[in-house]
Structure formats: C-alpha cells, structure tokens
Symmetry: C2
Subunit: 368 residues, 2 copies
DNA sequence: CCGTCCCATGTAAACGTTTTCACGACGTCG
DNA sequence: CGACGTCGTGAAAACGTTTACATGGGACGG
C-alpha cells in the first residue's frame, strides 16, 4: 500500500538499517550507497511513517495543547506563541479544544498518550484536585493560568490579581469613584483572580464596594454587551467600566455606542489581556497587557526544557507568574492628561507581532 | 518505564489480547475477567500508547492542518470550525503553521505522514504546480482557498471574486464614485481574486479604474492602517475604502479616527471575511460574510467523508465554492437608507457562535 | 454418549521504524 | 607478520498495540 523503508532498501539493494542511517544521518555511510539510497527514496517519494518512528525512538516530536475553547483572539495568540517556540525545536502541535470539565480533559490527555512528548493544559474552570487526578505522570506538563496543583506539573500564570489591582488604581487615580466591573465566568480561575484584584483596588481606595456594580460576564463580546446594559440600567450608573477581558470590553464599547454614550468623555472603558486588536479599536483600548503570545512561548519553552534534561527539574521553581502591566490608551480618558514623555506615541501599527517586552516586568504602566 | 498493556495483562492474569479486547470492546469477554482487567487498568492508570495504536490499526485518529500563519481572528475561527467537526468524529488535530513556501509545506506534510489520516492545507501564496508536487498521494487532502490543482486534492474555496464584486456594487449603489481598495499580499490567491472582483465591480459600474486607488496591503491591521494613509494622501481621496479583509478594515478605521475623519459620514469603510469582532466595531463593520468556521467545518467534513469510504470519491466534485454574501452594517453609511424590513436589527450579541446560515447561498445581501 | 458448534481465551504475527550487536574488510602499529 | 581499531554494512531485536488464527471446554442436538 504505502511505500515503506523496506521498499527503498530493496530497490537500493541495501538493508533497511542502511536506509535509516542515510535518512537520519545517524551513522557514516559510503557516499555511493548514500546517493543510491537518496535517489531511490526520492523516486519513490518515500517519507517515514511518523507513528512507527515515535514508537521506535521513544519520543513523538510533538507537544499536546489542551484548551477550553478556541474562540477569539486570545487563544489564537496563545497558540501562535506556543507554535512559534515548538517549531524552533522542530516539534508539531497536537491541539484539542472544547474541554471544560475534567472528564473531557482526561479523555484528551489519554488520547494524546504516546503521540506527544509534553503537554500544555489550560483549564481555568477546573479545580486543582480534580485536575491533578487526570494529568499524566511521566509527561512534562505545564498548566496555563490554572490554580496551583500538587502534581508534578509546572504552573504558569499571569499576574491576574496584580494587573486588576493596578488597573483599578489607575481608574481611581483618573478620578473615578463609581467603577463598574464585568467579571468572567463563574468558577473560572482567571476570572476570580481578576475580580479579587478589582475588589481590592476599590477597597484600598476607600470606596464603598457595591455588589451591584460587580456584574457577572462570560469573557465573550456578548457577555460584555449584556454586562454593560446591566450597568447602564443602574439608578446611578458607573463612570468607568472595567471588563475582565478585552473581548468583553469590545462588547462594552459596542453597547455604549448603541446607547449613544461617548467613550471616554462620558464613560471610561478598560479591558484585560491586550489582544492585538485592542490598539486598533475606536477608541484604542486601555487594558492590561499580559503578553499572550509570550505566555504561550514560555509554556512551550518550559516543556521543551523539561524534555531536554531527562530528569524532571526538581530544583527549578514549580510555578511562574508573568507580569501584567497597565497599557494606557484612549478609552479610559486618562490619555490626554497623563505625562506623554514616558513613551512617545509612534509607530504603533508597526510594532512587532510578537512583542517580547512583556517577558520582563515593567515598573508601573506604560503608554502606547 | 511506562505502564504498557503487558503490565496490565500480567497483573490481571490474562493475555494482552484479552486486555485489548476489554479496552476496545472489540470482542466478548467474560464479565468477571472484564472487571478484573478494568480494575487493574484503572489501578495502574494505564492508557494505551497512541503511536503503537496508530501503527497497528492503520489509522491515526488525527487530521493534519497546515496553515500559513495563525495570526488574528480568521485563523482562530477556521481552526475552531475544523476542530468542532473533527471532534465529532473523535479525531484530534495536528496543527502546523508559518508555512508560506512549498518547501516548508512539504516538510510539514512529510512530518505528518503516518500521524494523520487526512490533511487540510491552506497555502494561498503557493502556485498550483508547486503545491501539487509536495502534497502526498494516498492521503485525503482538502485544499483551502487555494487555486485549482491537478492532484487528487479536493479544493474548497470561498467565492472571493463574487463577494468582492457584490460589495463593490453595493458601494456603487450607495452613491460612491471614488472607491479605494486595499489589496492583500501579492501572490496571495484570495487577495488577487478579491482584487479582481473589485476591479470588475468598478468597471461594470462604468467608473474609470484608477490604479492610484488600488493600493497594496498585507491582510494585517497595520497594512490597512498604512493603506488608508496612502489613500488619504491622494490629491482627491476616495469616499469609500474597501479593505480586502476585516483586519485591514480595522486598521483603516483606526487610521481614519486618528485623522479625525468620521465613519461613515465622511468616509465609508467595508471589509471582507466577517470575523466575529466585526459586528462589535465602532461603527459595526459592513463586510462580506464567508462563514469562516463553516468553511473549516466543511473542510474537515470532506476529509472525514473521504476517510469513511475507502476508495477516493471520484464521482464527487473535486471543487467546491462557498458563497460570500454582503452583510450591511453601519460602517458603509448605507444602513440608515437601506430598507430595514429585510432583517430586523435584533439580538445580534446573542447570535450563535457557529452560524451555519452561510452554508447555503443567500440571494443578495443581508442586513444585521 | 458422541460429534458439533460457540464462546472465551491464548499465541503469535503483523505494523514500520530505530538501534544494538555482530561481522567482515581494511589499514595501522607494534 | 599478527593484533587491533575503524569503517561500512546486515541481521535482528526492540517499541506497544491490534488481530488473525489456534485451542480448549462447555452446551446442545442427534
């Protein structure tokens, strides 16, 4: 049926071992036989069977990615970062999404056994013990934006709490006293951390926390739209809306436009994530940059590093938190008043697609 | 090292064949032994090695996806559609991106040999003969948005030309006589088809085609931004800008905002693709809906169908074109004037994430 | 009571690589 | 001139499944 290494060997008049050696350059082969083998391989359009190869070597040359969803620019960016780093190490990506509960995650993990060398799992909705139970042992695993876990998985998160506190402080500093918050999905780890940050920011400013201004969303544009309607319906609506992610901020901007409310003069809107489109919105969105692609890159790098050293790196920290910095643009109304000498507004459409600047912590916010 | 089926067999006191039969329910096994095997398997947390499994059965249970890039919402949506359909058939996705030239595509294809049962390849920049040369024979393949090809690959495209003609007609009907166009990347198949549609639309309206209004872009927000600046710098700027995709339309909106030009009253802006965020932009973007996720779903469905019947479906058409319909929103200025009885503006934030309506052709444009 | 059939199970051969081991031939050094 | 590496190669054993084939034991009909 398919052409195998045996066919190549037969036609070239050598053993399969020699063919393998030629194709992998794994041992010296006489130049004449080498060329003969390569010729036959090319003629037959032979390409080695990946499954057989992974079975024989004990590595698959692929990384597994398990995601709750792939809707929106966030996951697109994350995947891009992961892919970029994986490709550097000649690894491909086995992607499986739409896994919210640990049953689904468990199934996906099992399906990947033997076809991937490492695993990246994003499971913001699943509690730590349940998750620990389904993760495989013996496979380098990085948990993205999840809770701490007591398996041998490395946990990589973004400073959700710190970023939300910083953003709330920024709004307070701009003069807002009624700040509405549109939270993420219930039970979602990122969502609750960001909410915790918002509440702390409000509390430390000495403002009265009012649950009516703290509405539930779901990280989708539609959720932001609904949340905004809810906030506008309050007897005394907020003067600023803090959406727990950029997608909801987009929905908020849309709802405000429909309501005829001008941003930022009549209402400030800020988001979280700094998805690529944020800077191109009308008005450009003030948000918290988390370096999504960098997060993905780092996750892949961690898995690959664990793969490189045969023994699991016990000395290395089991947890890493990436910084989240406030990026001030026009949608919060603070743009005009803020000191403009920090970072000149220039060339923003030219910025590199993969901005590594967020790998290192930036003190305070930055202006773009 | 890892626990294998042999370990399970040994501890359960049966042969490996029996274990396999239990786990796959492929043959009747006495209830008592079945339970014993399942218990041991659970205790040992056994999960079968995927590589070995793919080698033994002659199928991998995975589909390969080869993309030029994964930047932006377009690819995110496409991947989502593919994943959705693949998951329905219990297949996972092996994704490889950043492949622009046929050398890279060839390498990716070879790396996937034996680990995937079918292939979806998006290679808008590669010419047909080159591409045909690197595609594998014997593996069901669907080419996305590529040129027709004389291999045995199925070609699935969107009606780029028709959509662009329709959109241009719409702008003409709205009263525009100077329509700027921001094209996609050179040598990109989608890009040139859309450009061809724009030119035809202009021509058939009896307007003089002026190359100065037909500027080069690159399908990125930054490219749209630059293209818009170029159009604004013309001695007599256009009154409408047709960006060859939504990402560039986003860049255009951003550039116009910076220039203090109000959309749509002073300038109409339209895009192509109808990425999810389009309806939430300020103003909501008039664009050409291609049903990105549906495209992905259909591609996966075609591969899976070819997989189901052992022989390649010769009777089936080797090419399919999905409709592209104009979606009128606010950014083109025609919204207020157009008859509003067609489709009431309602519930747009609630629309289902995966809209299958574009699978079937809709006569004329639709209003949202 | 014996032949036949079926059911549950075991044995072993695939599947297509890589890799270890062995083995000649050849050159080098003592 | 013999012992000893080195180099090129082949044979065969992994790798962990699935599955065709074989086998033994019980049920059942004659």
């Amino acid at each position: 049926m398919h052409v195998t290494i045996r066919d190549v060997a037969r036609l070239a008049g050598v053993s399969v071992a020699t063919v393998s050696r030629v194709l992998n350059a794994s041992a010296p082969v006489r130049e004449t036989t080498r060329e003969r083998v390569l010729d036959v391989a090319r003629d037959l359009r032979f390409s080695p069977n990946g499954a057989a190869r992974s079975l024989s070597r004990q590595r698959a040359g692929a990384l597994g990615v398990i995601l709750p969803d792939i809707y929106g620019e966030f996951f697109s960016e994350l995947l891009r970062g992961i892919d970029q780093e994986a490709q550097r190490a000649n690894h491909s990506l086995l992607v499986s999404s739409s896994h919210h509960d640990c049953r689904g995650i468990g199934a996906a993990v099992r399906a990947m056994r033997g076809r991937v060398d490492g695993l990246m799992v994003m499971a913001p909705d699943v509690s730590a013990p349940l998750l620990a139970d389904v993760l495989p042992r013996g496979v380098p695993t990085v948990l993205l934006n999840g809770p701490a876990i007591d398996g041998d998985a490395f946990v990589l998160t973004v400073d959700n709490y710190g970023g939300a506190v910083a953003m709330t402080r920024h709004l307070v500093a701009t003069g807002h006293v009624r700040i509405g918050f549109i939270a993420g999905a219930e039970r979602n780890h990122d969502a609750s951390e960001r909410q915790r940050g918002y509440r702390e920011g409000v509390r430390e400013a000495g403002l009265a926390y009012d649950a009516a201004y703290d509405v539930r969303g779901d990280f989708s544009e539609a959720g932001g739209w609904r949340g905004t309607r809810a906030l506008l319906a309050l007897p005394s609506p907020p003067s600023a809306i803090f959406a727990a992610n950029d997608a909801m901020a987009v929905g908020a901007l849309s709802a405000l436009r429909e309501a005829g409310i001008v941003v930022p003069t009549e209402m400030a809107v800020v988001g979280f994530d700094d998805i690529p489109v944020a800077q191109f919105l009308n008005p450009p969105l003030t948000t918290v940059r988390v370096g999504i692609a960098a997060l993905g890159e780092r996750a892949a790098a961690l898995v690959l590093a664990a793969l490189a050293e045969r023994s699991p790196p016990d000395h290395a920290p089991r947890r890493d938190v990436l910084p989240a910095v406030v990026v001030v643009r026009d949608s919060c109304g603070a743009s005009a008043g803020a000191p403009s000498h920090l970072t000149p507004r220039s060339g923003h459409p030219e910025r590199s697609r993969l901005d590594r600047s967020s790998w290192s912590s930036t003190p305070g916010g930055i202006r773009i």
